[in-house]
Point group: C2
Chain length 663, copies 2
């Protein structure tokens, strides 16, 4: 087996060899039970020692620890216990000890040690129990097997091709997949869905005659404690099984799913389960048979149940053929209207996978009201790590603060989303380019996602600290502060120069990159801002609008119902306001639009300068790539600024109070 | 050889067998010289006689005509003389005689007889000389050999695949090509360019190693007097010849073109010449070498000259990376600015091919000022038969009146465009669908194009009469009047429900079907309407605008310069006007927008009803296809109406004076 790490030419991301120096230069004992994940841990430590001069030994459960700096102590459990305990008893003495009941916990303990570095070998560490807050920490790849004529190899992918598939077939690059699994495990991810939720013809066959390709991937993921999931077509019994129907209440259909699933587990014994996008944007679903989405999910859940598998059922169901003339229909209402009434009807191994906002991964949305409305349903919150609407990995936009806001939101005023949810799912931003994520700095999003899934209450800036110090070991202060300067506020900067005040969209139709204020205004997609010469925004109040605001618990419904109490950053999502309306922040709506767009561009220009100043502190290829992308970001941000400002000046006729140039 | 006509399953268009009844039921003598086109004529008459019981004989130049109803008299000339004389001397006697110096003239005389039908065998016909007004009557196919990832097999094609090419190779369907040549000859077309002016990698090779595919097409076209042309890449010496440069003043480049052209004529002795799109929308051109477009055209002209070939050099040169913020640059000016200074510098066998308007085939544009500005240059006017911006062959939009307006326009106040030009070029609307043109009624556009190229002064409604009676022989009055009712005014109807008052565009970016008022407003394409809350339109006056109006001779410059004298239908092309501005027609700009959009939809709805009433008079498959397309046209027209009206209501705040529903 090659030493752990990425194949040649691929960036080590947050696991450069130097990140293992503290472990690799010490004497380590791996003590206790075995199993494949313990072997993985042993291999990691051995690889580090080979580089940094330390040593690693194996020992029985009672082996003497006195001559070791580090003891990795593992029980015999082979279950899913992911917890570990870290402690270091004696001042100046040792050893540092990680204790875990299973290899899985030990693996997470190892990467925790990597994060802590030298510090964990010094001083006293009171016993700390670490366990993930959420059992489901999953990345969904929107990778196609066959290149889609419009969407390409990876739908909404901005980092090159797929690392799993190319031109209709499996790539069979186990070293790359294992290196990827290692990166994911190091930030805490434990599940990956290997194909797009839009399941086309070729991809449908992964479930049956092409399951071997999935099994090959599962073998690599398994080595780092990651279970493999598959997106399947709800119509599989018809498409693949030749049945006349995919009706979930049909006995033949149930049998088909049971048989198909048994065959999957024959080759992937730890298979994670299915992901399903049903009755959504053209995908088949239970509505065709007059059945509910609970009926739909439960037939798959029943098939998976004997093996411990889970079905992830997406709540992204809405009418994508809406008539823009119809102001009574509101896409934002759709997920709640469809799924809240089904609470309690889903099987225990069905997980309702809900996008964090009611629309579609905009730079600013309120938290989906579904999240607080299904207490008797297992729930996963879906985030978009791939930057479809947030700069497509050509713009720096670190999403940690946005995700943290979501996870700390309290739908009932008391319990946070991160406590309500069973899982966090991210749409992957990974491809086969040299930096995994296209933009080198977009690695921070992938890392942050994993760490927030482990601990939704974590301060995202502390997570970013971790990413910076892992990715750039021994970074001088100037580099650390420079990276924080360009990343910390980048999401709010992006928000400033794009769609204002939560109104969303205003992007180029289709590919979604760059501004088009009216691009979706007269479309069937349900995404409107209703700007006219007097004002802008969507009235979603209960009193005079679509009633969406009333889908929240009273504590929030009251806040959102009134433009006076609604937070500025969401006010055009909930209200149609005159351009002269005074925001809580003190500006008028129109002046806020102008100010934020000028400010946002200035902030990108400043970030570009900060990056330029880091030239001597960053590997030249990496520095040049980011510098090149900053040119595009500045160009694009100016385009956003000028189009949005010109659009609203032309419409409102209100000049900029500060007299800046608007075209 | 099979009888003349289309292959099975393909519509006979304007040459159904019954159109030949008058000739086929008579005794005909083909008298005089021979040659391939005389053989074609003989074959046509023989085929008609086989069906309708007449007879046809050959005779020498002095053969006795007394026992014949029809004499087709041909001299021995094999040149390009396309004229013929028609006469019928004796009342009630005969014979009817067509005299031509060459087989080419005889062929056109034959199709003239077909148009005249029974009437030409009755009464006395004084000798009439018929000759085409324009020697160049050409169709340009924008057909790709290899399927383009965005543009497909036929760029801007709305009638299926190409009849020449499929998936990277030649189709080799000689019967279909010959049937097509026959249809074209019957309306007077004498030249076809067989590939797209955007010459991609695969298509570049047609000039050299794939010239055999072109020769196969030329063989079929030749039988109907049509010369074959090829679109070539200006960079061919580099791409194909491996030269370091394509500089037109480089001796090696001149030699390369001379050699390549000699090789073409080796296999296609009557090859028509080249079509070139240079320095336009990404195509290579002489600017890269600091040379003028006359230099560029002349190097190709010199290569073609020894063989009588012609280079068609397109004047569609503009900056397609314009900054929308820059109001001083005006795309409309570009062709004149580039080409008027070059007048007199082009070789005699170079033809400057100028789009009829300054922009790009919009439903309404002024006539290009280039047309009146290059008296010492051979000139072809380019029309778009394929309906890129006029309904994409899903909408009925008969363009005869628009083209006739162009051809009868007098740039200097005296001489019509149809007299100034040497040629008329149409972008083909033909594909491999069952009706040749997608929409069955779009056949009328192709036919009208050919007939206007023959006689630019013709009344387009008389041409439409011809098309109706050829396509539907023995049509009852109700069908004739029904077809006129749906076709005659269809262009103006289309104009009413789309972009108003000459302002243009407002289409969906990319594919150009359907409305998007701001779709091109902030784009790099130079296509803006500048609508704001106070008014709309582009100031192209000399006094306060871009100066485009001054590119015309004084007689028109004065008219266009002032909003008071500018024709309403072009007023927003030339002026930015307040919504309340009173048009010459008596409406305000805003009320005109509302009225025309409501009226346009009402007219389409009425046309749909007229078509429905023709159910028993039209072949069922054809009727059903058109009826189906009318459903889409009505839907699309309503979408145009509602988007345009909503856009301008939201922007202007002016309510409809008649209180109709605007969203």
């Amino acid at each position: 087996m090659p030493p752990p790490g990425p194949p040649d030419g691929t960036d080590p991301a947050w696991l450069p060899p130097a990140a293992f120096r503290a472990i690799g230069s010490r004497r380590t004992l791996v003590r206790g039970g075995g199993g494949p994940l313990v072997e993985t841990v042993f291999g990691e430590v051995a690889g580090a020692c080979a580089r940094f001069g330390g040593s690693v030994a194996r020992g029985g459960a009672t082996a003497d620890v006195s001559s070791y700096d580090l003891v990795l102590d593992v029980g015999g459990a082979q279950g899913d216990d992911e917890s570990f305990v870290l402690r270091r008893d004696a001042e100046g003495g040792g050893p540092t000890t990680v204790t875990a009941a299973s290899g899985r916990g030990l693996l997470y303990g190892l990467f925790h040690l990597v994060r802590l570095g030298e510090g964990v070998f010094q001083g006293r560490w009171e016993p700390e129990v670490h366990r993930p807050a959420l059992p489901l920490r999953m990345l969904d790849h929107w990778d196609n097997v066959a290149v889609h004529p419009v969407m390409g190899q990876v739908e909404r992918g901005y980092a090159g091709g797929s690392i799993f598939w190319v031109d209709g077939r499996a790539r069979h690059e186990p070293q790359r997949v294992r290196a990827y699994a290692r990166l994911l495990a190091a930030c805490g991810i434990n599940a990956v869905a290997v194909n797009n939720v839009n399941v086309h013809e070729t991809e449908a066959h992964l479930l049956t005659d092409r399951i071997g390709d999935v099994a090959s991937l599962a073998e690599e993921f398994r080595a780092y404690g990651i279970r493999t999931h598959l997106s399947v077509s709800f119509a599989a019994p018809v498409l693949l099984g030749g049945l006349a129907s995919a009706d979930p209440l049909d006995a033949g259909v149930r049998e088909w799913w049971a048989d198909a699933t048994a065959a999957v587990y024959d080759v992937i014994p730890d298979f994670g389960g299915y992901v399903v996008k049903a009755d959504s944007e053209g995908q088949p679903g239970p509505f065709a048979y007059g059945r509910s989405h609970a009926d739909g999910a439960n037939v798959l859940a029943a098939a998976l149940e004997p093996y411990g598998g889970t079905v992830h059922w997406r709540a992204f169901v809405y009418d994508h053929r809406q008539d823009w003339r119809d102001r009574s229909t509101d896409r934002a209402r759709a997920a709640y209207d469809h799924f809240a009434p089904l609470d309690g009807e889903f099987a225990p191994n069905a997980v309702l996978q809900v996008k964090h906002g009611p629309m579609d991964f905009q730079v600013r949305e309120p938290v989906s009201p579904v999240i607080g409305a299904v207490p008797r349903t297992r729930l996963a919150v879906e985030l978009q790590v791939t930057q479809e609407y947030t700069g497509q990995q050509r713009h720096v936009c670190w999403l940690g603060p946005m995700w943290s806001d979501v996870l700390r939101f309290r739908p009932d005023g008391e319990t946070a989303v991160g406590q309500l949810a069973d899982g966090l799912v991210g749409v992957s931003n990974v491809g086969d380019g040299p930096y995994w994520t296209g933009h080198p700095l977009a690695q921070a999003n992938l890392y942050t996602f994993g760490r927030l899934a482990w601990d939704p209450g974590a301060d995202p800036l502390r997570v970013l600290d971790e990413w910076v110090s892992l990715t750039h070991p021994d970074a001088p202060d100037a580099l650390v502060s420079g990276l924080h300067a360009v990343l910390d506020g980048s999401w709010r900067t992006y928000e400033k120069y794009t769609a204002p005040l939560g109104v969303g969209f205003m992007v180029q139709p289709g590919h979604h990159y760059g501004p088009s204020v009216d691009g979706y205004e007269y479309s069937p997609w349900g995404t409107y801002h209703f700007a006219d010469r007097d004002g802008v925004g969507v009235d979603r109040s209960a009193a005079t609008g679509t009633g969406y605001a009333a889908q929240y618990a009273k504590v929030w419904a009251d806040v959102y119902e009134s433009a006076e109490s609604c937070p500025d950053e969401l006010v055009l999502f909930f209200h149609h306001l005159p351009y002269g309306h005074l925001l809580r922040g003190g500006s008028t709506v129109i002046q806020h639009i102008y100010d934020t767009h000028f400010d946002g561009v200035a902030e990108v220009e400043a970030a570009r300068e900060v990056w330029a100043s880091l030239r001597d502190l960053v590997e030249p290829g990496r520095h040049a790539r980011v510098a090149e992308l900053y040119e595009e970001q500045v160009r694009s941000a100016r385009e956003w600024r000028d189009q949005v400002n010109s659009y609203f000046l032309r419409k409102s006729g209100v000049p900029d109070a500060r007299g800046r140039r608007i075209y």
